[in-house]
């Protein structure tokens, strides 16, 4: 029993964080917003970092890492508000294809040549379908046929298309994508808290920084509690899915729920702390807030995941009590 990341995992996360802090700035987000919101330079940078092949086996040109590393990095992508379809392609499609034994295009994914979109009945849209070279739909990797009908998201950096006949109810696809949405929500929540705290240190009223007012402090502290307690739930969900645990889906739903609640709470609190500035299109905050709204409903909304937990907890599918936290891990040990 050791609930920690390895030093290698921390190093990897830190290098991705540092890279994104340096390159994927709020100025870049504004530029993307004005100029068509996707950028080959950004995509190529992520590919050069090795992210496209992170989960692709080494003999197919990837780094052969696992979902724990991918989840850690998805948090960073959420923190930086990366909108290129790297998570869908590399952290969802790649492990899904590998699990299904559909391995022939994994090399293309690792090399950054193939972007994969994901269609599932749980969403009325498909993200980045217009950019994708292929789409996972009804249990297999398919070509993108007719030119997709665009849908307009509140999130200016999301590119959505109508799902049409694409879709299917694949449970593994849903679990992978819900886990990665949860990770990005945690990253976004962290960032929104940081933006609010930075603002509260600078903005002065009544002759002092608003961050010295206790009402503002307590708002921020409450967000910190919510975000920090979502994290271990997320790590555990990644671990459970990585190791194929029987109750993995329940843990993923828990992570999605906790991450959603943390991010929405962070968004509402952060806008409050920004005052009218928070209600503008000028301030950085809005990018993350809108991403949080989008991801909150994506890959199973609150009601969907609550129901999956409810079925297990009240319905009796999961053992309860103080000695059962790692019970599903124990079964598979």
């Amino acid at each position: 029993m050791d609930f920690r990341f390895t030093e290698d995992q921390i190093t990897l996360r830190d290098s991705v964080r540092e890279y994104l802090e340096g390159t994927h700035t709020p100025e870049l987000l504004r530029k993307l917003d004005e100029h068509g919101n996707r950028d080959d330079g950004v995509w190529n940078g992520l590919v050069e970092m090795g992210l496209a092949g992170l989960l692709v086996p080494e003999d197919q040109g990837g780094l052969g890492m696992g979902l724990i590393e991918a989840t850690l990095i998805a948090v960073e992508l959420g923190r930086a508000n990366v909108s290129e379809p790297i998570v869908d392609t590399a952290f969802v499609a790649a492990p899904w294809l590998a699990a299904k034994g559909q391995t022939d295009r994994l090399g293309d994914i690792a090399g950054g040549a193939l972007k994969v979109a994901l269609a599932h009945d749980v969403n009325p849209w498909v993200a980045d379908l217009d950019q994708a070279g292929a789409v996972i739909s009804h249990g297999k990797l398919a070509d993108v046929a007719a030119s997709p009908v665009a849908l307009d998201s509140v999130d200016p950096l999301r590119r959505l298309s109508a799902r049409g006949d694409l879709g299917g109810g694949d449970p593994l696809l849903l679990d992978l994508a819900a886990l990665m949405a949860a990770a990005q929500l945690v990253g976004a929540a962290d960032r929104m808290l940081a933006l609010a705290v930075d603002y509260a240190k600078q903005r002065e009223q009544f002759g002092q920084p608003i961050g010295s007012f206790q009402a503002v402090k307590h708002h921020a502290a409450s967000v910190a509690v919510k975000v920090e307690f979502a994290k271990p739930v997320l790590w555990r969900a990644a671990y459970a899915l990585q190791n194929g645990h029987a109750r993995g889906s329940v843990h993923i739903s828990h992570a999605k729920l906790a991450a959603t609640d943390a991010a929405i709470f962070a968004a509402e609190t952060a806008i409050q702390i920004h005052g009218a500035m928070g209600y503008t299109y000028e301030v950085d905050l809005h990018f993350w807030m809108k991403r949080a709204w989008a991801l909150a409903g994506a890959w199973g909304d609150r009601a969907f995941h609550l129901k999956r937990i409810d079925d297990a907890v009240i319905g009796g599918g999961i053992d309860l009590g103080p000695d059962r936290t790692f019970a599903s891990e124990m079964i598979h040990a």
Partner: protein, 383 residues
């Protein structure tokens, strides 16, 4: 990351489980907040000690088993699984014990830790005063040096179970010209010392669970001081850290409550609201989150890390979780919630628990104070 127990950890769990099954009293003890129940709980402490289970993480030299924090969590899980009694010894083993371990002299360790692990001496905390609650630096009780003794005068209040305990520990002003955090010392003394008067206070539930302590020129030997004269504030902050941190409220306690809450829900499902159902599910998720976080922190500490102001996140999380679980139970019970004992004669533990849960956000540093700490020390907002 490895979320499996080792075979040795599983064997340890089995050992604790077998011992608890053989020893935990079959009928629940009376409340810890009253004389009769307190004595029963002290007897239980001695039973625990007879099995060498007093404080498993302590060195063997002081009556412990020298076990790591993961085993401590396993011990706690089995403890609550077996519905073992609350710990009358908690102020000693969870708070004063670690403080002495860190700041005490070898003599003090030998003198205080072993009897503590054996459940021989029960401790009360004496920090709060009528005018020093959240603002503990406003402490006025004085300890005036007289040769190799201190002469203590003043008043403490809200001291949990002081009416039943043997000794108390707390902060006293040893430098009479000092202000605020300076000039305070951390001193231990027997509650039956001449000049000590303990006046019980009835708590919300009606029992005399805490007390005022009056000191009238009480003579205490200087060797009862932990750490240097005037260094008491830092020592007390460490003690408070232990209280908010890993030990005082182990996740097992809340997971046991969450499990009982699910069972209660199933009994009352027919008339339960969807909101109550969601709150029950949320109880389980939050109790799990708290457990997971604790395992993470324990793993980190074990690997040489430490937690500081993060303890404030914990304290807020468990106290608000506990209150919300009990509030949910009260709403499920509906018109029966007010009954102290149900029509079938069973005690309404939810009512007792709800009342107690209302104190969680107040004691061990109120949740407002914890939010101040988080904002200023973790987030870096200006004072």
């Amino acid at each position: 990351m490895d979320l499996n127990y080792t075979p040795e950890q599983q064997a340890f769990r089995a050992e604790v489980r077998a011992w608890m099954e053989a020893h935990v009293p079959k009928t629940p003890l009376k409340t810890l907040e009253g004389r009769e129940g307190y004595d029963q709980h002290v007897e239980w402490e001695r039973t625990l000690a007879s099995g060498n289970w007093g404080m498993v993480t302590w060195p063997e030299a002081y009556g412990g088993r020298n076990l790591d924090l993961i085993r401590w969590l396993i011990f706690e899980e089995e403890y609550y699984r077996a519905k073992a009694p609350l710990r009358a010894n908690q102020n000693g083993i969870f708070l004063l014990g670690p403080t002495i371990m860190e700041y005490g002299t070898d003599e003090q360790k030998a003198r205080f830790l072993t009897p503590m692990a054996k459940g021989e001496i029960m401790w009360a905390q004496a920090w709060s005063e009528p005018n020093a609650g959240s603002d503990m630096a406003a402490i006025r009780s004085r300890a005036v040096r007289d040769g190799d003794h201190y002469v203590i005068s003043g008043q403490k209040t809200w001291s949990s179970r002081a009416a039943f305990a043997d000794w108390c520990f707390g902060l006293f002003r040893t430098d009479q010209d000092s202000k605020r955090h300076k000039g305070l010392s951390f001193i231990l003394l027997p509650l039956d010392s001449p000049g000590v008067t303990v006046r019980p206070i009835r708590q919300l539930h009606g029992e005399t669970g805490f007390a005022e302590i009056f000191f009238d020129e009480v003579r205490v030997p200087v060797e009862n001081r932990i750490a240097g004269e005037g260094e008491g504030w830092n020592v007390a902050m460490a003690t408070a850290g232990f209280e908010r941190g890993l030990m005082l409220r182990s996740p097992a306690r809340f997971q046991a409550t969450a499990k009982r809450l699910v069972e209660l829900y199933r009994q009352h499902e027919a008339h339960a609201s969807p909101a109550a159902r969601e709150a029950v599910t949320q109880a389980w998720t939050d109790a799990e989150a708290y457990a997971l976080n604790t395992y993470m922190v324990a793993s980190t500490i074990q690997a040489g890390g430490h937690i500081g102001a993060e303890a404030s996140l914990n304290k807020i999380f468990w106290s608000e979780l506990d209150r919300s679980m009990h509030r949910t139970a009260m709403s499920l019970l509906g018109a029966a919630a007010e009954l102290r004992t149900f029509a079938d004669g069973a005690m309404n533990e939810w009512l007792e628990g709800y009342i107690f849960s209302l104190s969680g956000p107040i004691y061990a540093g109120s949740n407002e104070i914890q939010r101040n700490i988080i904002a200023e020390r973790l987030l870096g907002l200006p004072r």
